[in-house]
Amino acid sequence: METREKKWFWTMAAPAVTGFVFFVLGPMLYSLFLSFTKFDVVSPPVWIGTGNYSYLLHDDPAFWPSVRVTLIFTAVSVPLALIIALIVALLLNTNVRGIGVFRTIYYLPSLLPSVASGVLWVWVFDPNVGLFNSLLRLIGIQGPGWTSSVVWALPALIIMSLWGFGGSMVIFLAGLQGVSRSLYEAASLDGAGPWEKFVHVTIPQISPVIFFNLTTGLIGAMKVFDNAYVFGAASGAGPGGPARATLFYVLNLYQKAFNYFHMGLGSAMAWLLFIAIMVLTAINFLLAKRWVHQAN
């Protein structure tokens, strides 16, 4: 029987495994190789050992700024998005009539193509005629020149990315729907009020979902590209501009690899990122043992 199932296993998994080998594993290993070479696409790669890595870590004026931007973005936007998503999910987790409309409204922005939302937000942040400063002006505040200010460009991008919290929200919503109602009932008979129920029932019960959202959120934040790229292009600040204030790590990578064809350098950057994400995820998993309640 086992041989029979094994045969079927491979039949069924064949497409995915083929895809994995050809489109993921193979390219991954090849890019590992490239990261030790100088390769400008035109001529064949030349082995230069760890040259790319040492250039990045020591000499590249853009590398550390892009790391900084990415880390700030991650540290601010991930927790904020998580908290907002959870609060909204809690509010949306009822059966009130018309709740579907609300769910759609909150989820909608995350469905918007990043090109469209990038364009939209650049417009919203336009210092003169944009929505944001127009609203601020209504209450008598002269808003900053968002997209062209080293100080405000990143916050603007963070606000824009927060707008798309809908993705984690639906997952929270799904998690909340999985919490047994009788636990809440038991808690209310035990004398718990709404806050105690939230702290002692909701949070532990959805901790795996929080963990999932946290993990994917961190990975996603480290990999931000689309928003930053469109933002730079549409705001006229140029990719990563002004003054590298929105030069996200992957955007930097993209510039190096695809604008200037330092493919080896780009591969090295990609691998550094991959390793960083793996380490972060591993730490995350280790910490999770302390606070995530495993259902089974």
Partner: protein, 405 residues
């Protein structure tokens, strides 16, 4: 879907899908009539993506037979370009090289070889809004203006209309070298030494240029604060002068009936009037093209007198003296009235440094420091020194090894 890949006999021509598209569609139509034996397949791409697309196609060994190849990129793309010098020399008569403005012709050579033929050129000019000058009773810019004249005018032109509209005396180009490099050169400095092996932005005269660039905003307040430039800049009609503007904008400026604009050569700097940029918009042939002769026919068609004439009529700048002369009458009713300035400016023009690393250096290494300067985070001097240090480090470690490799 593979059927979309051109059949072997067909020539592929990669074109940016911008406002000139109708123009090129017309050229394609006429060429098909004139040369039915040479089928052309246009490949339209997003203008902003043109370079990336081209690069990836080159890398994929699927290069289009004919592609746009400004002088900015030529150093970079040399390995992919067909050396058309023999063709140019053979057909010198037919293409009438002498008819082309000498500065343009000079700028079309790379190390004395021809790799492309320009269809029009860009040169740095001072654009101005006549209506705003009239409104403030300021005299129009003159060819002998200095920086000071320019600043004085700009100050007068910076004001608030009774209805609350803020008018700015001048625009400022941010995000790339377009404007500051002019001032750096006009004050006697340059970004690089002639061999492009060392960044010289930290020289006192170069710093002087940067200071002028920056002071317009920080000292004279004739330029809108960073980010608060009125919507659509000069075209929006709220900015009186645009120094260093691009001739590519003529087409669109002329589509705005309320914009009464004209041009003048750039004001003179403390060191010289020279320093504006000359750039070519040109067409080259891919090394992989299996019928260069046919491609050459197309390029000749585009850059022939007829070809140039239709481009000029569409709003572009003529590279041929004969066409300029011929159309002079016809164009007087057209803006810019002072079309001559654009020819005169050629003598003040300079090419950007011919190095494969120039763009990366200017945009990714130097520009961030200039940005910080504009933010008021550092003085022009600090910016210049930091940029130079970073650029030199780049060239030492990556750029130089690259250009040698």
């Amino acid at each position: 879907r593979d059927s979309r890949v051109a059949s072997p006999r067909e020539l592929t021509w990669m074109l940016p899908s911008d406002l000139d598209r109708p123009l090129y569609e017309g050229i394609l139509r006429d060429f098909a009539q004139a040369h039915p034996e040479i089928p052309i397949k246009p490949v339209w791409v997003t203008p902003g993506q043109y370079q990336v697309k081209l690069r990836t196609l080159l890398a994929a060994n699927q290069a289009p037979d004919i592609f746009r190849c400004g002088d900015v990129w030529v150093a970079n793309m040399l390995p992919f370009l067909h050396d058309i010098t023999p063709l140019v020399e053979r057909d010198a008569q037919q293409i009438d090289l002498d008819d082309i403005y000498p500065e343009v012709r000079a700028a079309s050579c790379y190390k004395c070889r021809y790799y492309f033929i320009p269809s029009w050129y860009n040169v740095s000019l001072l654009y101005y809004n006549k209506k705003l000058f009239d409104e403030r009773g300021v005299a129009y810019p003159r060819a002998d203006w200095t920086w000071d004249n320019y600043i004085q005018a700009a100050r007068k032109l910076t004001y608030r209309r009774p209805n609350g509209d803020q008018i700015w005396g001048s625009d400022m180009t941010t995000g790339w070298w377009g404007e500051w490099l002019i001032y750096v050169r006009q004050s006697g400095g340059d970004l690089f030494d002639p061999s492009v092996e060392r960044c010289t932005l930290d020289s006192p005269s170069a710093v002087r240029g940067l200071e002028f660039y920056f002071d317009r905003m920080s000292q004279y307040h004739v330029v809108a604060p960073l980010g608060f430039s009125p919507p659509n800049g000069f075209a929006g009609g709220k900015i009186a002068m645009l120094p260093g503007g691009h001739v590519g904008s003529w087409v669109t400026y002329n589509k705005l009936p309320n914009l009464d604009w004209d041009i003048q050569v750039m004001p003179r700097g403390p060191f010289s009037q020279k320093g504006g940029e000359i750039a070519m918009d040109s067409w080259g042939i891919s090394k992989t093209c299996n019928n260069p002769e046919a491609a050459w026919t197309l390029i000749k068609f585009i850059t022939s007198k007829d070809g140039i004439r239709r481009q000029v009529l569409d709003g572009h700048l003529s590279i041929r003296r004969s066409v300029s002369a011929e159309l002079k009458q016809q164009l007087t009713s057209r803006r810019p009235a002072n079309r001559d300035a654009s020819y005169r400016a050629l003598q003040f023009g300079q090419r950007i440094p011919q190095s494969p690393d120039f763009i990366e250096l200017a945009i990714d290494i130097v520009q961030p420091e200039v940005d910080l300067m504009l933010q008021g985070r550092q003085s022009p001097k600090q910016a210049a020194h930091k940029a130079a240090a970073a650029a030199n480090q780049f060239m030492k470690v990556l750029g130089r090894s690259r250009s040698k490799g």
